[in-house]
């Protein structure tokens, strides 16, 4: 339904320039998309299909409406705007190099299902980028409506190569070779080329499902015909690429992707189950403490960093609109995603990322993909059983870590295990004596109270762990940490 668009400082999304027919921009809190005349005709064709309504209803296509009045447009457009769409805002933007295996696989299947539905009504997706899929909690949503266009006679599946580079090869690497695709996708915004993929696999993989055509033959043909661009294109045009051919290829690709599976090592499964059920007094009290904080007020976005199996992300969801569950280990995050998906959760977004080496800005001018804090600041951060990993295992000084947390301008629940804690002892054991003199409770409290207003402190009954609740400096009522504990 057309609606009024407010007039506010429009600004282009720096990651949306590759397709000049359709560009995303923002005005105030609105997410808008300007379409060229050609882009608008494609959108009108899309809006008249039956699958458009169907996929929008069940939330697999981003909720979208045509803006009634023409809003102010951002500067820098190279095609005149013929129409503007308003999209629903996705709570938190994430990227494939932060998704565990099943998230990338689900995004791939959504991409292919949309493509098959589009082909049935003589439309096609002009690209195959996982950056066009976002997640609302555990639910994949296709956000780039500008990717749909009317199918032209004799055209191939233009997005096939991109599908291989950004979906199929990463999934094959993880499923078949047990090699994490995250550094590859983070390393190259366009993904893994057929030649690179060929170099990563062995001749024996030729007989595995999906490898011969998509990897071996693909890289061979590319090597042989790569420099014959225009020539091949006109030959293909003459041959007349039939829609049935595209459908057959897409269906085969769907079967290949559907079959791919990856599961974390057995140890992760065991730990996942144990942590969900542990019940000693310390754990119970920690649950209560976190619950008290998260339900004390309404939080918008909560980050649970070092989320592990998501025990506290789930508690955080009781008092937060959205939760980001981040962990450096993709194993528990994979299992957490699967559970949340089975529950139909749309609140908790599961990402895997090493906080000592977080996602940077990538692409043109380092702005096409954004670093983590640039995508939305948290209102509350849970940093439970994390600080010893960052400061002792990754050597980040305690003051640096707390300073980073303060830079997020967020309220904070942080757990500090003392040097007597068994886990801290284990992490310190291989280190030279005296390497971490700053890992002391007094130093931690001094740094924390210098950058935050600490409102609560509580010691676990085992005595080796302390929990703190703090607000950004100047916004809380600090307690005296030098006073005796209670």
């Amino acid at each position: 339904m057309p609606t009024e668009t407010p007039r506010q400082d429009p600004r282009l999304e720096p990651g949306s320039f590759r397709d000049p027919e359709s560009r995303v921009f923002y005005a105030g809190d609105d997410v808008l998309r300007t379409l060229s005349a050609d882009g608008l005709r494609d959108f009108e064709a899309l809006a008249s299909t039956s699958f458009y309504e169907r996929f929008m209803q069940d939330g697999r296509l981003v909720k979208t409406e045509l803006a009634r009045s023409t809003p102010d447009l951002p500067p820098g457009l190279i095609k005149e705007s013929a129409g503007v769409l308003r999209h629903e805002r996705i709570p938190f933007v994430s990227y494939p190099y932060e998704w565990p295996f099943s998230m990338l696989k689900d995004a791939a299947l959504l991409q292919l299902d949309l493509l098959l539905a589009a082909l049935e009504e003589d439309m096609i997706l002009k690209d195959s980028s996982p950056y066009n899929v976002q997640f609302k909690g555990s639910k994949p949503v296709f956000v780039d409506l500008g990717s749909f266009e009317r199918l032209r006679d004799g055209e191939p599946w233009v997005g096939y190569r991109q599908f291989c580079m950004l979906y199929l090869y990463p999934l094959l690497l993880q499923a078949v070779k047990d090699v994490s695709y995250h550094p590859f996708l983070r390393g190259a915004i366009d993904g893994i080329t057929p030649a690179q993929m060929r170099g990563l696999v062995s001749g024996r993989d030729r007989t595995r499902k999906g490898f011969y055509l998509n990897v071996f033959l693909h890289s061979k043909l590319e090597e042989r015909h790569g420099d014959r661009g225009g020539e091949v294109k006109s030959e293909v045009k003459k041959a007349g690429f039939k829609k049935e051919l595209i459908v057959a290829n897409v269906k085969r690709m769907r079967k290949t992707v559907q079959r791919l599976e990856w599961s974390p090592p057995q140890g992760v499964w065991v730990a996942y189950g144990e942590r969900n059920s542990y019940s000693d007094d310390d754990a119970k009290r920690k649950d209560e403490y976190v619950r008290e904080v998260v339900t004390s007020e309404e939080w918008g976005l909560t980050w649970d960093i070092g989320a592990n199996n998501g025990r506290y992300s789930r508690i955080a969801a009781e008092g937060s609109r959205n939760v980001l569950a981040v962990d450096a280990d993709p194993g528990p995050i994979e299992l957490l995603y699967r559970s949340l998906r089975d529950e139909g959760d749309e609140q908790i977004l599961t990402l895997t990322m090493n906080l000592a080496d977080p996602s940077p800005g990538l692409g043109w001018r380092g702005r096409e993909r954004k670093a983590l804090p640039e995508r939305g600041s948290p209102d509350l951060v849970l940093a439970l059983a994390l600080i010893h990993h960052v400061t002792i295992a990754a050597n980040v000084p305690v003051a640096e870590f707390v300073d980073w947390l303060a830079s997020l301008d967020t309220s904070l629940v942080i757990e500090f295990p003392t040097r007597e804690d068994p886990m801290v002892k284990k992490l310190l054991a291989p280190k030279r004596e005296g390497l971490h003199p700053d890992y002391e409770r007094e130093n931690f409290e001094r740094v924390l109270s210098g950058l935050f207003d600490v409102e609560r402190r509580e010691r676990s009954s085992s005595g080796t762990r302390l929990l703190y609740f703090a607000r950004p400096k100047g916004s809380g009522s600090p307690i005296d940490l030098a006073a005796p504990e209670h």
Binding site: K126, D127, L221, H225, R228, K233, N249
Partner: protein, 59 residues
Amino acid sequence: MELAYLDPGSGSMILQILAGGFAALAVTARLYWGRILTFLRIRKPEDEVVRANEQADSA
């Protein structure tokens, strides 16, 4: 051919034709296999029609 903003890749286009050809070949082969079975009276003729339709759907 007016192509979209993304380069489909020459090798990738040829592959699609070959792959599509393989798919077509496979369907044809299965169809003829069905006919052989029918000829040898291992399968009844109506099975063949149903199967051929199923194959066309899943190709």
